[in-house]
């Protein structure tokens, strides 16, 4: 018997994030920290009207300022920069990085200044005078759909970015033929139908670090390096190279520390194209750093989709059919993935339920607002919200416990893989298990008694429950125009340390820690001997990036596969050294030895050194210990869970207090439960923020009304209760890790469960639905019957 290993197995352990000490001590290097000799600074002049034709731009005063090196209008930039590419197959209007003739939202760039310092650049941008012939603006998508009072893009009648896409039961795969008979029958057979228009309001992603880009074109070499606060440097490289007429071999993209992305930094923005193009044109390193005011205007917004929900059911609570008519306000332009995000809302309309008949339709509408795109959850929180609020309304109509209604409609655990009416194939699931765990943890029946007792005292206490399932681990290449794989290279260095690269570009997900845990276990070496490199196309050969809760499920698997290749080769070297069979070797405690006789082994470093100076070279082996792997999953993953909340509304003020938030999340196997909980905490905060306090508002003239943190609220720690978390574990068969992904989960269940709890608290006032956000005044008006 050998002694127990000294080095503990780390996968599944609560290892503290190794990223944090440098970040919390201010030792991180962000884009704005990048300094290059001769660096110039860019500032953008942005439209302050929501819709208008540019009559003239006077750049004279700006150009005359000391320190200003160049000023470019949109028309001048269009001479050397093509329109912005998009990543979806939907027809899209031309979108110039800097507007040439018409501006369509407040914040759209109209000119750019290059100056010796950012202060001068900003002053010069202010000195540019733009004369607009203003046009009517439209900010309400249901008004914009009429084509009045304005048409934003000439070739898009009635402002329809996507006229109407049907999906679901009876719709042919190409969407060309639609048979409504099954859905119609479901509604005809129903005992009850609940119907509600719901608004999933516009949100601002508000990463702590705004965007920023530094581009350095080196004339002598003909190469360009671009630093950007991005979630996906490889995609950035592809697009920047393309728009600059360069090869991907000539462009290096670097995402240094990234202070939050939340989906908003998937996009390749106009500023990235302009700064790189100007660096190349001027032969100078150039920096642009977004300020907070710009971030509210010029970084994409999320959500902003209206859902008309109809659910047909029997009196016993069996859902027979669902209709979901979606109207997405995409803002003024299609960005990289804009048009595709609401299709994810359609895709997830089946939710966790065995609904036999579903008809969804999607219309996307241009308005004079900042473009929308992916924001944490990206389409799935919207689907969850619409369906779960609908289920809550159905439970209320049937006077049925909302948990019981869910239970009667779940896709049973033995039906996976399960093909939904929407065409998704759910990989694995056990929804009743998550529900039961959450009910148990919350003490559901006791909570109901508490609520009833509080009500008897006149207090407005409510309970809410929501299930969710989301599509994560994106995804097969068929579902992503960028490719849906991930890449990794694992190298055992000559000294026995391990370097690994990942194309997943973590920006808060903690992969430097989780991936090191995996490799430490795989090779039996100390965690401290493993380093994960990412975010630099000059170091990381290939990659897609981090979004859609994919870094662990897809990137982690690529790492695992690359590691396995290296381990296999290293075992061959060790077998030669030890004169043993490689299948008898164990990697443990920094040694490679024959199973059962650890004393006979060699240290990990000795074997590594041998692999690099292989004298003699074992037959059939090449020197070195460095292998790479691409991993393409066969399917997405479908994590799920159940969130329960208890709220109390102040009868006098309408203020809503979140008393409890109980979450059970099933993300499959967990590499690091501590990091998973951190991800859920952040997701919950943003989901709770949407329910309670976050909303981007515009005036009727298209002027933004929430342009700073003085008016746009995000949750603070003090606004949140102690989260009560738990996990069930239903591994996915889609990857060998069994991991599903968890980055977005928190935003899915929390939002509807809080709104449902608020509706429950207000049920005595005849309320069946309240749109977000749950502003105190709105709730107070319900309580006081609109009394003045």
């Amino acid at each position: 018997m050998s002694a127990a290993p000294v080095l503990p197995k780390l996968v599944g352990e609560r290892v503290k994030r190794r990223e944090d000490p440098r970040l919390v001590q201010g030792h991180g290097t962000y884009v704005d920290d990048v300094k290059i000799f001769g660096l110039r600074h860019a500032a953008f002049k942005r439209s302050d009207v929501a819709h208008g034709r540019i009559r003239s731009i006077d750049t004279g005063a700006a150009e005359a300022m000391d320190g200003v090196e160049a000023v470019f209008t949109g028309t001048q930039i269009a001479e050397f920069l093509d329109p912005m590419p998009i990543g979806t197959p939907f027809p899209s209007p031309e979108h110039r990085a800097v507007a040439t003739d018409v501006v369509r939202y407040v914040g759209e760039p109209v000119a750019v200044v290059v100056a010796a310092d950012r202060y001068t650049a900003r002053d010069a941008a202010d000195a540019i005078v733009v004369d607009y012939e203003t046009r009517p603006a439209v900010v309400n998508p249901e008004v914009a759909m009429t084509g009045h009072p304005t048409v934003i893009h000439a070739d898009f009648d009635n402002n329809l970015a996507v006229p109407l896409v049907p999906s679901g039961t009876g719709v042919s795969p190409d969407g060309k033929t639609v048979d409504d008979s099954v859905v119609d029958k479901a509604f005809a057979d129903a005992d009850v139908v609940v119907s509600q228009r719901m608004v999933n309001q516009r949100l601002a992603p508000t990463a702590m670090e705004p965007r920023g880009v530094v581009a350095h074109y080196e004339r002598g070499k003909g190469t360009m390096t671009v630093w950007s606060s991005t979630q996906n440097p490889h995609i950035l490289r592809t697009f920047v190279a393309k728009l600059n007429g360069m090869g991907e071999d000539e462009v290096r993209a670097i995402a240094p520390e990234v202070g939050g992305g939340f989906g908003a930094k998937i996009n390749i923005y106009g500023e990235e194209y302009v700064v790189s193009a100007l660096s190349k044109r001027l032969g100078l390193p150039l920096k642009w750093t977004e300020d907070r005011s710009e971030a509210f205007l010029a970084t994409i917004h999320g959500r902003d989709i209206i859902g008309y929900v109809d659910i047909a059911a029997t009196r016993a609570g069996k859902v027979l059919g669902l209709k979901l008519r979606l109207i997405a306000d995409v803002g003024a332009y299609n960005m990289l993935l804009t048009a595709a995000i609401p299709t994810l809302t359609m895709l997830m309309a089946n939710a966790t339920y065995d609904i036999p008949a579903i008809r969804t339709t999607l219309t996307e509408v241009f308005t004079n607002k900042t473009p929308t795109d992916a924001y944490r959850g990206a389409g799935r929180p919207e689907a969850t919200y619409f369906v779960e609020r609908g289920m809550d309304m159905l439970a209320r109509r049937l006077d049925m416990d909302p948990a019981e209604l869910r239970r009667r409609n779940f896709i049973p655990a033995d039906r996976f893989p399960y093909k939904t009416q929407m065409g998704a194939v759910y990989d694995s699931g056990d929804y009743a298990k998550a529900l039961d765990r959450a009910l148990g943890n919350a003490g559901w029946q006791e909570l109901q008694r508490e609520r009833d007792a509080a009500r008897a005292e006149g207090r407005l206490v409510g309970l809410g429950l929501a299930m969710y399932v989301e599509v994560c681990g994106l995804g097969p290449s068929a579902s992503l125009p960028t490719g849906g794989w991930e890449h990794s290279q694992v190298t055992v260095e000559r000294d026995g340390r391990i370097s690994a690269t990942t194309g997943a570009s973590p920006h808060g997900q903690g992969n430097e820690t989780t991936f090191a845990q995996m490799l430490a276990d795989q090779f039996g070496v100390p965690f401290e001997h493993v380093r994960i490199h990412h975010g630099d196309t000059g170091v990381v050969k290939q990659g897609i990036g981090t979004f859609g809760s994919r870094s662990q499920a897809v990137g982690g698997t690529a790492l695992h596969l690359a590691g396995a290749k290296v381990r296999e080769k290293m075992a061959k070297f060790a077998a030669a050294l030890l004169e043993a069979h490689e299948e008898d070797l164990v990697f443990e405690d920094g040694r490679i030895s024959v199973q059962g006789s650890p004393d006979t082994g060699k240290s990990f470093a000795e074997v590594a050194a041998y692999a690099y100076v292989p004298v003699p070279l074992p037959a059939g082996l090449s020197p070195g210990l460095s292998e790479e792997a691409f991993f393409e999953p066969a399917n997405n993953t479908y994590p799920f869970g159940c969130h329960i909340s208890m709220v109390e509304i102040d009868r006098d003020t309408g203020e809503l207090a979140l008393l409890r938030l109980v979450a059970v999340d099933d993300a499959g196997n967990l590499i690091n439960p501590l990091i998973v909980e951190g991800q859920i905490h952040g997701g919950l905060a943003q989901g709770i923020g949407q329910a309670m306090i976050e909303e981007v508002r515009y005036g009727g003239d298209g002027q933004p009304l929430t342009g700073s943190f003085m008016d746009y609220a995000i949750p603070r720690a003090a606004d949140l209760p102690r989260f009560e978390l738990d996990a069930t574990v239903t591994p996915t068969p889609v990857n060998p890790l069994g991991a599903k992904g968890v980055g977005e989960a928190g935003t899915l269940g929390s939002t509807p469960c809080i709104v449902s709890a608020a509706v429950d608290a207000l049920s005595g006032f005849g309320v069946t639905h309240v749109d977000m956000m749950l502003r105190p005044e709105k709730l107070w008006q319900i309580i006081h019957g609109g009394q003045a």
């Binding site: 202060y119 203020e655 003085m710 746009y712 603070r716 606004d719 105190p776 005044e777 003045a788």
Partner: protein, 284 residues
């Protein structure tokens, strides 16, 4: 978020600050914590030519007892006010008010003088200073003067303070039976409505009451109708609260914005007047 260019000077004393302010002419602007001024400068809504920093003038900082009154230096940061043992013991409403301002970062930089000089219509201190009938002490090239808080707050961002003057302190007679209650605007944490109530209670009767209101109107005001109705009433919570329930009824031109409409604000004046009064009585 980048201010236009400005010069910067640091004043070493009140007299030095006054002299520098005079020398700068109309282009000079005092800065202490900067938590009202700097955001405006970043948005270029305020573009001073010369910033005169008064944050490190020793005589401007601190909470002290003077002739039975309490004086708070204008340069005292909110955190120091919120944690002052003297205020907590003798006049807790002031510490309580300071503790509701912004967040820890704001409270460790922002100053009392800066807040009242700026006179945001939703700032917290003005309500409390009105309820305490505080006086504002001012120094300028024409010497020192004192203004009652009720005369100091004049209109939206408008106070009785000339461009060449600076606030040195506020002074008030401490009141234990006083409290501040506010409805938070969730983004800024300013007051949608804030009411400070100070009561003089003797023998189970309210001898007199003063209530300061912020957030509801263009500037902080006294709720004199409520004060008059309360005088002479029994000092029990329910009867006092009943008098304040309709405190908002007589107000006109209430603020309305994306966070709260006028009718809601009017109702909240009543709610928070009651809450402040109940809390004040509970300190009796």
């Amino acid at each position: 978020m980048i201010p236009s260019a400005f010069d910067y000077e640091r004043a070493t004393s009140v007299d030095d600050a006054v002299a520098r302010l005079a020398a700068a002419g109309g282009a000079g602007k005092l800065i202490a914590g900067g938590h009202s001024l700097v955001p405006l400068m970043k948005l270029r809504l305020n573009e001073p030519g010369t910033l005169i920093d008064i944050a490190r003038i020793p005589e401007l900082a601190g909470v002290r007892e003077v002739d039975g009154a309490i004086e708070i230096g204008a340069g005292t940061v909110h955190h120091a006010v919120a944690t002052s043992d003297l205020l907590r013991a003798r006049c807790p409403v002031v510490a309580e008010t300071a503790a509701t301002i912004g967040d820890p970062q704001v409270r460790n930089r922002g100053t009392l003088g800066g807040s009242i000089a700026h006179a945001d219509p939703a700032a917290d201190y003005p309500a409390t200073l009105l309820a305490l009938d505080a006086e504002v002490r001012i120094q300028g090239p024409r010497g020192a003067r004192t203004v009652a808080a009720r005369d100091f707050f004049q209109d939206l961002f408008t106070v009785d303070l000339a461009g060449d003057e600076l606030i040195t302190a506020v002074r008030f007679a401490p009141v234990r039976t006083a409290a501040y209650a506010k409805l938070y605007q969730r983004a800024s944490r300013f007051a949608i409505v804030g009411v400070a109530a100070a009561l003089d209670v003797a023998g189970g009767t309210v001898r007199s009451a003063r209530l300061g209101l912020t957030g509801a109107l263009s500037h902080a005001v006294r709720l004199t109708a409520v004060e008059e109705a309360l005088a002479g009433r029994p000092a029990d919570a329910d009867s006092v609260a009943a008098e304040a329930a309709r405190a908002g009824d007589g107000l006109s031109d209430l603020n309305a914005d994306i966070h709260a409409g006028a009718d809601y604000r009017r109702a909240m004046v009543g709610v928070f007047a009651q809450r402040a009064l109940r809390a004040a009585l509970a300190r009796g």
